[in-house]
């Protein structure tokens, strides 16, 4: 089935098999392997991408359902040079070790802070409870997301930030 959507700001028109999840489609057809596939049934959150501003599990969405949408993956959150403020906070707070879950945490936190730049720690903990990490024990991740809030508060009204 022919679908037409935007991935990280680029228009894509391509044929997608109906049975293919958005996660597999992004990785195997579009070769954007930043999105990781963990459990493939909506439990671990590793495959989280942003669809029309909302963080969603790309293993629980068909590629054909992305037709007409704007999809942002971790590649789309990363500047051409260096790290985004959120990524920088992850680095400073040691919010990753093996890195497998990190793209899912980054996309989830980016979607949250874009909509709710003043989310309190409890809200952040509640939202991140949908992502599993086996390395960090979560506390550094929560700290990193809390620290990144100021970057979103400043840019909350800039058009750049609304594209994702």
């Amino acid at each position: 089935m022919n679908i037409n959507f935007e991935l990280n700001g680029k228009r894509i028109e391509i044929d997608a098999p109906a049975r293919m999840t958005l996660a597999d489609f992004i990785r195997h057809q579009l070769m954007q392997t930043g999105t990781h596939v963990g459990c493939e049934h909506g439990v671990c959150g590793a495959c989280t991408v942003i669809v029309d501003g909302d963080a969603v599990r790309s293993c629980l969405m068909l590629a054909v359902q992305a037709d007409g949408s704007k999809v942002t993956t971790v590649e789309g959150l990363t500047p051409p040079e260096g790290l985004s403020p959120l990524q920088q906070c992850f680095r400073e707070h040691h919010a990753l070790q093996c890195g497998f879950c990190t793209p899912g945490f980054l996309t989830t936190a980016h979607a949250l802070l874009t909509k709710e730049p003043d989310a309190d720690k409890e809200r952040i903990r509640h939202v991140l409870s949908g992502n599993l990490c086996r390395c960090t024990g979560y506390i550094p991740i929560v700290d990193a997301v809390c620290a990144a809030r100021s970057a979103y508060a400043k840019s909350a009204r800039s058009p750049d930030n609304e594209s994702a």
Binding site: M1, A18, R19, M20, T21, D24, E40, H41, G42, G45, T48, D54, A55, V56, R57, C59, L60, M61, L62, V64, Q65, D67, T108, L112, H126, V127, S129, G130
Partner: protein, 287 residues
């Protein structure tokens, strides 16, 4: 874990959806897909065709008027969470759906999908049963209305025919001063609860509970109210003794089964404790 093969269609009118359902007995509707796609990944369901409702206009509409609240079948959990008026128009609904799954799932999952899936461990079927919601269904012969008390028939089993779709669900108007509470217990946030309770009641002129509605999550064969517990609550002033007595009756009335996650006895005990605490929460809530 990859999905089995199927044909995919995304029609633009409810009439076309119903026609496709009637012509393809092996077809299933998909909205958010947050329960259906994992079920397919595990090969517990292998529908020959998925009919996506994403192109149906107006199916995500929330209407609040004097008769109550009407929620289109494609209303997502996040739409309820972020609606400024629902928190006062249907506080029990809003509190209950805060417990549905995780952030990412709440951005896709829908009311209609949850009601049609009819998992007795899900919050929305419990709220529909507790609040005597009315479901508007469309089939090949037109619309019909089914009350939630007649809709849920067993685990994952409803009165929805194979060639019918849910259009919307209507919750009756919320009385001013109504007392209410929702509580559930899960080992991790976002998991299916081991048990939960939803309740509301009104207060009569002698400050006694009346019009009690008590529903159960997880510790039941299908989503339903607990009439014995309701009878025990009606006519009583809600204090610690009443709460304990009604909780004990509900504990006996719940009909869970043993499973991998918890024994039936544990779930029954949870229902009693959760209801006892919830009744006190409700009673202490400022009107």
């Amino acid at each position: 874990m990859k999905l089995p093969n199927f044909e995919y269609v995304a029609p633009s009118t409810p009439a076309e959806v119903v026609r496709l359902l009637a012509a393809n007995p092996e077809a299933k509707l998909i909205a958010g897909g947050q329960s259906l796609l994992p079920t397919m990944a595990f090969r517990l369901a292998q529908p020959a065709m998925l009919i996506d409702v994403r192109n149906l206009r107006g199916l995500d509409r929330i209407v609040i008027d004097s008769s109550g609240v009407s929620l289109g079948a494609r209303t997502r959990w996040v739409d309820i969470e972020t609606d400024a008026e629902l928190a006062t128009a249907q506080p029990l609904l809003v509190e209950a759906i805060r417990h549905v799954a995780h952030y990412q799932v709440r951005n896709r999952g829908t009311i209609g999908g949850s009601l049609a899936h009819a998992d007795p461990a899900s919050e929305m079927p419990c709220i529909a049963a507790t609040c005597e919601a009315n479901l508007r269904l469309l089939g090949p012969h037109g619309e019909r209305h089914v009350n939630a008390s007649n809709f849920f028939m067993g685990p994952l089993t409803t009165a929805l025919a194979d060639d019918e779709m849910i259009l919307d669900v209507h919750l009756p108007a919320w009385a001013p001063g109504r007392k209410w509470a929702f509580s559930e217990f899960a080992r991790r946030p976002g998991d299916f609860a081991l048990a939960g309770v939803a309740l509301f009641y009104d207060i009569d002129q002698e400050q006694r509970a009346c019009n009690a509605h008590i529903g159960v999550v997880g510790a039941c064969y299908y989503s339903k109210r607990m009439p014995a517990a309701e009878d025990a609550l009606n006519g009583k002033r809600v204090d610690a003794d009443t709460a304990a007595a009604v909780g004990a009756i509900a504990s006996g009335e719940a009909d869970p089964t043993d499973d991998f996650h918890a024994s039936a006895a544990y779930r029954k005990a949870l229902v009693g404790t959760l209801l006892e605490r919830s009744l006190l929460t409700a009673a202490n809530r400022p009107s």
